[in-house]
């Protein structure tokens, strides 16, 4: 069976959930822990979350599908969230997105054949001052240009390769 989360982490979530009045508050934390460990949250991850916290599967799914940073489908090793909100749009986000599509050879919502990148549109990243912006993992990249994007993609690709060979 696939391990979605190490047992010690499950136990610790269980203990925390039992100690608080509203275990629903921990749904996001647990989903993110599963995502960090497994890369994304499959159906069984939703069920595991429900069972661990003692809430209904439907309640977990409602949260999981509400947030676009919780992945309910398999994604690449690096997910690129490219902003399409007003400030980025005004500073050329459409051109940025087009460049990303071309550089990666995929459309929005798709994953590269090598399984490294997934490209997703996102609403505001809170980086309006640095528009146009995108986010990879927890890193926000602002004031994007095509050259800068090529550079970032190359570095990320190298980092993934290093992870695999490490």
């Amino acid at each position: 069976m696939t391990e979605f989360l190490p047992q010690n982490q499950i136990d610790s979530f269980k203990a925390k959930a039992a100690a608080i009045a509203h275990p629903h508050e921990m749904i996001v934390d647990l989903l993110r822990a599963i995502q960090l460990h497994h890369g994304w949250v499959p159906d069984d991850g939703v069920l595991l979350t429900a069972a661990t916290l003692g809430v209904l599967p439907i309640e977990v799914e409602e949260v999981a599908t509400f947030y676009d940073k919780i992945f309910r489908r398999e994604v690449g090793k690096r997910v690129i969230h490219v902003c399409d909100s007003i400030c980025c749009w005004a500073t050329g986000a459409e051109m940025i997105t087009e460049h990303l599509k071309k550089a990666l050879g995929i459309g929005l919502g798709e994953t590269t054949t090598d399984g490294i990148f997934t490209l997703l549109p996102t609403c505001c990243l809170g980086a309006c001052g640095d528009a146009p912006a995108m986010m990879i993992g927890f890193t926000t990249h602002g004031l994007l240009t095509t050259e800068k994007i090529d550079d970032i993609l190359q570095k990320e690709r190298a980092a993934v390769a290093a992870e695999i060979f490490a």
Binding site: I58, E61, T65, F66
Partner: protein
């Protein structure tokens, strides 16, 4: 009482209502989606905008979110308000597929009405529409997500009001989808309510799909015939068949919702084997000929062998008017052998209730406001599902629920459980009154002692009983306990789940006459020679069916009036076909003594789908509609007794003859009904209980009413019959382990009826020492008459 001005009209409204409701008092309907009287206001659809011109609130506001206050001046016709509503509806319609011509909601679509009312006529949005993959939500509800305008009403109905746990809302913004986590049948026994709640064609009735355009559907206000609660319904029919049922509105009983049994249990009316022809000694005859023969032969036997040689068995599913006429027939014959329920326990429970309920009477609405609900031997989801929903509303209003029962009583809300054996139920009621719990175990004592305190301090407590388990003795103890805890400030309420829609009405008429078990004795001895059954089946409803079969074989004459293919109808010497509830006008008295009228939807006749069968229509031609001879039960009896043949005249004459039923002539359908003040009479003293568990090696089995499969009319309805389970038994996991059995395993159940194969279910909430077996029609468990206790053995199925 605030006084406000809406559209230049002054109106004084009750405290606490919102402006949308206040406008409705003036017949000004503000377009809205998310507001619903039972679900409340959430202000999420943004459609009910009104301009608050003057007073405590100013500006453009959502009318459903603002409480009506003194001095408010509000306009629904303000240009800004109209423009906002126009934009909101246009925006709600951006992704809608405009498939009205092929949509099942067409004809009663609130979205269509509100789009017109909101002034949105021409579509300007030319972008791509969001589309969804639908789920198969089981046999009752059809989903078409693309039509959704995300009003949230389905989730608020299913999850919040009905307590369902398997349907929710996913995604955000234009990706919002209402669905189950995984495709599959909706689990809530109230799932059909989302069909009524959905303002458009996202959730429609699957059994009703593609049957009839709604403007061709004949509808009339009716009362549900499936249990004793008397919920308001609106059946719809066409092509000589009842095709669907939707919830009616009665704020005192069901409110706005009904259960799935009531909604999908209509099909017994269209049953292919339904007897539709009068019959005399096996030969088809006209209804008139059968009626004359019935009168003649009953009179002949009565004059030859004395009036008590004829017995009359009414039923809880007959109209109140017919029950009165059966009573009058027995009286005219001079017979004392009259009873309205073949099941002894249910009969005694109903009669005891009518004699002792008095001021303790409570409606479903009063139950919804209760702060303490205690169930003694009552399983609402099996015996009267809507009561479970009323209990849930009590919990949502802050009430507490305690269940004292040997069964694992399932409720759509939180409750505390005390499993007790059925014999102990009357005892515990007496003990509560005396505060003497010496006969109980230590842990039981703790809960019971705290219950006494809760009962004393509760403001609106209600005790709920069930006829199956309590019988006459239990209901008497229930009413006595309510009396005991009643103080000068408030009385303790009582609600008892009875067998059928007119159990209470029949019980009022039964007086202190014999119960059916004593009539069976008289049949066995030969003193009773003729039995008239009014929509009842003594072969299968009596407490001991084997005994009933043996005794009833001695009858000289069996007369049956019925609308279903039951055993009495099949075996009767004289048979008279009656109309189903949806085919006639009449009234029922529900379990709180509420007299309610129902109206006919269609006339009887063999459904057209049945004669056509997809081929060429039949080439034979008749002057009369095939299968149209059934008549209303009261009309047949009125003809036989030469009484008034019109309902108005009959009701007036009943009122004259029976002063306690005052009000009968003035009842009307689609009202809250009239609570009868008539008081019943206690049944005669009870005979010895049937012995059980004599064999100490054997296990004890208790027959129960199951949630699905135990209701005769529901069993005859194809949409519900399709959901009936395989025969099963329920036992405590500890007992299962002792017997080396596990859940979902097949096992062999042995009783004096013989062997049968069943599936094991386990439940921790139930009593450890009992095995629960549901009565399931047309299976090996058909003879398990609820409330009965038997010795049994339960073994693992031999491995093949």
């Amino acid at each position: 009482m605030p006084k406000l001005t809406i559209d230049n009209l002054e109106v004084t409204v009750p405290e606490g209502i919102n402006v949308l409701e206040a406008a409705r008092e003036l017949d000004i309907i503000i377009p809205h989606f998310c507001y619903h009287e039972a679900l409340g206001s959430v202000g999420s659809c943004r459609l009910c905008a009104m301009m608050f011109v003057d007073g405590p609130v100013k500006g453009l506001q959502m009318a459903c979110m603002i409480q009506a206050q003194d001095g408010m001046v509000v306009s629904s016709t303000d240009p800004d308000a109209i423009e906002l509503r126009e934009h909101v509806i246009e925006w709600a319609m951006t992704n809608h597929p405009h498939d009205c011509p092929v949509c099942d909601e067409g004809g009663e679509c609130q979205l269509q009405e509100m789009t017109v009312a909101g002034g949105h006529g021409v579509r300007r949005y030319s972008g791509k529409k969001c589309t969804f993959t639908n789920q198969n939500l089981g046999p009752f509800v059809q989903q078409e997500m693309n039509r959704c305008i995300t009003c949230y009403r389905c989730v608020r109905t299913y999850r919040d009001y009905c307590g369902g746990t398997d349907y929710g809302v996913f995604g955000s913004r234009n990706r919002i989808q209402y669905a189950r986590f995984r495709e599959g049948a909706l689990e809530s026994p109230f799932s059909g309510n989302i069909i009524d709640a959905c303002p458009t064609g996202v959730l429609t009735s699957k059994p009703f799909r593609f049957k009839t355009r709604l403007w061709d559907l004949q509808e009339a206000p009716s009362i549900c015939p499936h249990c004793s609660l008397g919920c308001a319904t609106v059946p719809g029919g066409r092509y000589r068949e009842v095709q669907r049922v939707k919830a009616g509105i009665n704020r005192e009983t069901n409110g706005f919702f009904i259960c799935d049994r009531g909604r999908f249990g209509y099909d017994h009316v269209n049953h292919p084997e339904r007897p539709r022809q009068g019959r005399l000694d096996g030969q088809p005859v006209t209804v008139n000929a059968a009626l004359l023969a019935a009168r003649e032969q009953v009179t002949a036997i009565a004059s030859k062998h004395g009036p008590d040689s004829v017995a009359f068995l009414g039923s809880s599913r007959s109209s109140f008017e017919a029950s009165v006429l059966l009573h009058d027939w027995a009286k005219a014959t001079g017979s004392q052998q009259l009873v309205f329920e073949a099941h002894q326990g249910r009969d005694r429970a109903a009669r005891t209730l009518t004699a002792q309920l008095g001021k303790h009477v409570r409606s479903q609405e009063e139950l919804r406001q209760s702060d303490l609900v205690i169930l003694f031997g009552a399983d609402p989801l099996a015996e009267g599902p809507m009561l479970a929903l009323a209990i849930r509303q009590a919990v949502r209003n802050g009430g507490k629920v305690v269940v004292i029962d040997p069964r694992p009583v399932e409720l759509p809300c939180a409750a505390s459980y005390l499993p007790l054996s059925p014999e102990k139920l009357p005892e515990v009621l007496v003990a509560l009154g005396k505060k003497d719990f010496n006969a109980f175990e230590a842990d039981e004592r703790v809960l019971l002692e705290s219950l006494v305190e809760q009962l004393k301090s509760a403001q609106r407590p209600v005790l709920i009983g069930g006829a199956d388990l309590l019988g006459g003795k239990g209901v008497q103890a229930l009413c006595a306990a309510a009396e005991k805890f009643t103080s000068d400030e408030r009385s303790v309420g009582v609600i008892t789940l009875l067998a059928g829609p007119n159990s209470y009405g029949g019980a009022l008429l039964a007086g202190d006459g014999p119960d059916f078990d004593s009539i069976l004795d008289a049949v066995q001895e030969g003193t009773v020679r003729a039995l008239v059954c009014l929509e009842s089946d003594p072969f299968r409803e009596a407490r001991d069916p084997a005994r009933a079969h043996a005794a009833l074989g001695h009858l000289e004459l069996l007369v049956s009036f019925d609308s279903t293919p039951n055993l009495a109808a099949q075996r009767a010497d004289i048979f008279l076909p009656t109309r189903a509830n949806a085919e006639m006008a009449g009234s029922y008295v529900n379990n709180e003594g509420r007299l309610q009228a129902f109206m006919p939807v269609i006339d009887p006749g063999v459904p057209i789908r049945e004669t056509g069968a997809g081929n060429h229509p039949p080439r034979e031609f008749f002057q009369i509609t095939p299968g149209s001879s059934p008549e209303a039960d009261w009309l047949l009896l009125a003809g036989l007794l030469e009484r008034e043949l019109d309902l108005v005249g009959l009701r007036e004459s009943i009122e004259k003859d029976h002063p306690p039923f005052a009000g009968l002539s003035s009842i009307a359908a689609e009202t809250t009904g009239v609570r009868l003040t008539a008081q019943g009479t206690l049944p005669p003293a009870e005979e010895q209980e049937l012995p059980h568990a004599a064999d100490s090696e054997a296990l004890t089995l208790m027959a129960i009413t199951g949630q699905i499969g135990s209701c005769w009319l529901a069993h005859l309805s194809s949409p519900l019959a399709a959901t009936e389970p395989q025969p099963y038994v329920i036992l405590h996991p500890e007992l299962a382990a002792e017997l080396n059995l596990a859940a979902d395993e097949r096992a062999r159940l042995t009783t004096h009826f013989g062997h049968c194969h069943i599936v094991i279910r386990t439940d921790e909430k139930m009593l450890k020492s009992l095995i629960l077996v549901p009565q399931l029609w047309d299976t090996a468990l058909e003879g398990m008459v609820p409330g009965g206790m038997l010795d049994c053995r339960l073994e693992k199925e031999a491995q093949r």
